[in-house]
């Protein structure tokens, strides 16, 4: 099979203590590519990197390096090198010996080692530092030494585990450019792990967005930014207005109670969708002919390059807009959105669906709790049922013990006029909720559902 994949990851899974950290990961990396694994902390990106490096063995799946499975090979035999998050420079060795460490292990002749170390020092602009102890270096300098120490071995792939996380903002920006330059000069494949979406967009040829052990989207920075495939990606990458919408027909979508032209096709007619509009893609206009909807500015903050404004639309939605020109709070403005700038996404789900079992004719057991439901005709005790609950019918309570089941707020999205929450219950179930109340991530909640809101049907699979 002739392809240009230097690394091919197939069906990789890993659990720690019963928790799935990586769930059936599949992707490939082209030779010479700068690929970034991006996601919030705990999404599995570091575990994935450590599996490629060889520090963690996968439970299932394969990691192919140039077509050969390396899952069983120990890290010291893999032709890969890592730049560690806190650099892990050896404190008992000076800069030169740190960089020469790998070469000395390969038993290369002394003059060859010296030549390569010097070249590497020059590449990271640390030529005069070879005799310095690593403790005497600043964070940025330690960073350079760590990069040199890894690259001097000419690895087939360089793995970087949040290498810039410990640096201050200015230094981070400089190092980003330098890293990109080093990548260009060396032509080595880089696998970069970060939770910083801006860094990922700046550096990468390809971004792999991860969440909860699964790949959400793979694509170029421009694809990921402009065409997020789901609410998570849209929310995680950049600022965005994520709104409930309805595809009316091809190239026509309704949201915020207005209709807009768009460029998306193939969703079907009258289908619920999610819509993403970036705050910089909503334009002000003074031309009534161009105006698609009206709004009133309710806040305006200077952010350096642009102003960030929140507006209330005439239909009761809140939108974020970024523009170079400020509008005073209280101003009535006319707004429009280009069809190109409306990103329509399939809804991942339109309601909660759970498997349950009838306890008696007016109680159903599901998600580890017993919920009251309206007396059901034709359903008897012990019947297996499917329960459907609309997002807006789930009640969240301040005290966990007041709910039928308990959980915590796991993820939240503002959708213009309400919040869409993901609740993770103590039993491990997800419940999606639309609410006007304000909750924070991590809030502990009790969950209740009104008897009338549970729609039951007999399950026969």
């Amino acid at each position: 099979m002739a392809n240009d994949y230097i690394i091919d990851i197939q069906h990789l899974s890993k659990s720690f203590g019963g928790v799935k950290v990586l769930d059936d990961i599949n992707f490939y990396i082209r030779r010479g590519e700068f690929i970034t694994l991006l996601g919030p902390s705990g999404c599995g990106k570091t575990t994935l990197l450590r599996q490629i490096a060889g520090f963690i063995a996968p439970d299932e799946g394969k990691i192919l390096l140039e077509g050969k499975d390396i899952s069983g090979i120990p890290p010291y035999e893999r032709p890969l090198n890592t730049v560690f998050q806190r650099y892990a420079l050896f404190p008992h060795l000076d800069v030169y010996d740190n960089i020469a460490f790998g070469l000395k292990l390969q038993k290369l002749p002394a003059d060859e080692i010296q030549k390569r170390v010097k070249r590497m020092l020059k590449m990271v602009s640390m030529t005069d530092y070879e005799d310095r102890s690593v403790d005497s270096l600043s964070g940025g300098q330690q960073q350079r030494v760590a990069i040199a120490r890894a690259l001097v071995n000419y690895p087939k792939v360089l793995l970087l585990d949040e290498p810039l996380a410990a640096l201050d903002l200015k230094m981070r920006k400089d190092m980003q450019l330098e890293l990109k330059e080093i990548h260009r000069k060396m032509g080595i494949t880089f696998i970069y792990v970060t939770h910083d979406q801006e860094e990922a967009l700046t550096l990468s040829d390809t971004i792999v967005v991860m969440n909860e052990g699964k790949i959400q989207q793979i694509g170029t920075p421009i694809d990921i930014y402009n065409e997020p495939v789901n609410c998570f990606v849209a929310d995680f990458i950049g600022e965005s207005n994520i709104l409930k919408g309805r595809m009316i027909r091809d190239r026509r979508v309704a949201f915020i109670k207005h209709q807009f032209d768009c460029v998306d096709e193939g969703f079907g007619e009258d289908v619920p969708v999610d819509v993403v509009v970036r705050p910089e893609d909503i334009y002000f206009t003074t031309d009534p002919a161009k105006c698609q909807f009206k709004a009133k500015v309710n806040s305006c903050i200077f952010k350096g390059v642009h102003y960030e404004m929140w507006v209330d639309t005439d239909t009761g939605y809140e939108l974020m807009i970024q523009d170079y020109d400020p509008y005073e709070v209280g101003t009535e403005v006319m707004l429009y959105i280009d069809p190109d700038d409306i990103q329509v996404m399939h809804k991942e789900r339109t309601r909660n669906v759970y498997d349950g079992k009838m306890v008696d004719e007016s109680h159903v057991e599901m998600m580890g709790g017993v919920f009251e439901c309206e007396p059901q005709e034709g359903l008897a005790e012990g019947d297996e049922v499917r329960a459907e609950i609309r997002f807006e019918d789930v009640d969240l309570l301040d005290h966990q013990e007041d709910g039928v089941v308990a959980g915590e707020v796991h993820f939240l999205l503002y959708k213009g006029n309400h919040y869409h929450l993901t609740i993770l219950t103590d039993e491990g179930y997800h419940i999606w909720v639309d609410t006007n109340d304000i909750w924070d991530k991590g809030d502990l909640v009790g969950v209740n559902i009104a008897p009338g809101a549970i729609k039951l049907s007999k399950r026969n699979d």
């Binding site: 050896f90 390969q106 120490r149």
Partner: protein, 256 residues
């Protein structure tokens, strides 16, 4: 109002009464003859007396041997205790260190009795056994401390750069744990130079150590010569401690 610096007064009084004054007394006695006149005779007597010198040499030899054996046995023990693959519970480490909490004299007497029951003749071998048994926890503890606090990423980085586990051990783990070893050496070497009880009980006084002759002199009321010997020993301990602490990281090992 009492100033905060006044809080140290009780401790200063304690130090003066129980540390500074006794040391001054030792120095005073060391440089006096029996009639209280100043003299160097006690010091010169030590350096001209063959018996004293050879006892001193033997003490150093035994102390060095004891220290080496403690490192050879203690390091692997500390390494295994600190390694999560072999030992996940802190209790095991405590068990190893527990003998430290039992009076050394009691342990020594028990050891002597054990040799007696087994019919083993007392001599240098039993002396070394007793010393290692008494002092090895002081070697294990500081090494265990440095090893278990060591950032695992150093070993990972070395492995990542191509070092086999064996190479990682010799090139990373050992050099980085040297402060702990240093601290252990201080804890073991210093006390063994001056010990006398162990040699008394475990060799029936067949082998005399430096501590033994100090004790004998003081016991037979030869205060001035005894004080001179004690002074010499203090000097040696003081100098070697300073020398060891030059490696400023020795302190990281824990106990000192």
């Amino acid at each position: 109002m009492i100033k905060r610096s006044h809080w140290s007064i009780p401790y200063i009084i304690f130090m003066v009464v129980f540390v500074v004054l006794p040391l001054l007394l030792i120095v005073m006695y060391a440089f006096q003859d029996g009639n209280g006149h100043f003299t160097f005779a006690n010091i010169t007597r030590f350096f001209t007396d063959k018996d004293s010198l050879s006892t001193f040499a033997l003490s150093l030899e035994i102390a060095i041997e004891n220290t080496l054996i403690c490192i050879l046995l203690g390091y692997p023990a500390a390494w295994i205790l600190s390694n999560k693959d072999y030992n996940r519970s802190a209790v095991t480490a405590v068990l190893f260190i527990m003998p430290m909490w039992i009076n050394a004299l009691m342990r020594t007497l028990a050891t002597a009795e054990l040799f007696n029951v087994l019919g083993i003749t007392l001599g240098k071998g039993t002396l070394l056994f007793g010393m290692v048994y008494d002092y090895i926890p002081f070697m294990i503890y500081p090494i265990y401390n440095t090893l278990s606090r060591m950032d695992k990423s150093y070993a990972e980085a070395a492995e990542d750069l191509g070092a086999t586990p064996w190479k990682v051990f010799w090139k990373i783990t050992v050099p980085l744990s040297l402060p702990g070893v240093m601290s252990g050496v201080l804890m073991v070497f210093m006390p063994t130079v001056s010990t006398f009880a162990i040699s008394e009980f475990l060799t029936n006084n067949k082998i005399k150590l430096f501590g033994t002759i100090i004790q004998e002199n003081i016991n037979s009321s030869m205060w001035n010569y005894g004080a001179a010997l004690a002074f010499i020993m203090l000097l040696i301990i003081g100098i070697s401690t300073l020398f060891m602490n030059n490696d400023e990281k020795a302190a990281e090992g824990g106990l000192i």
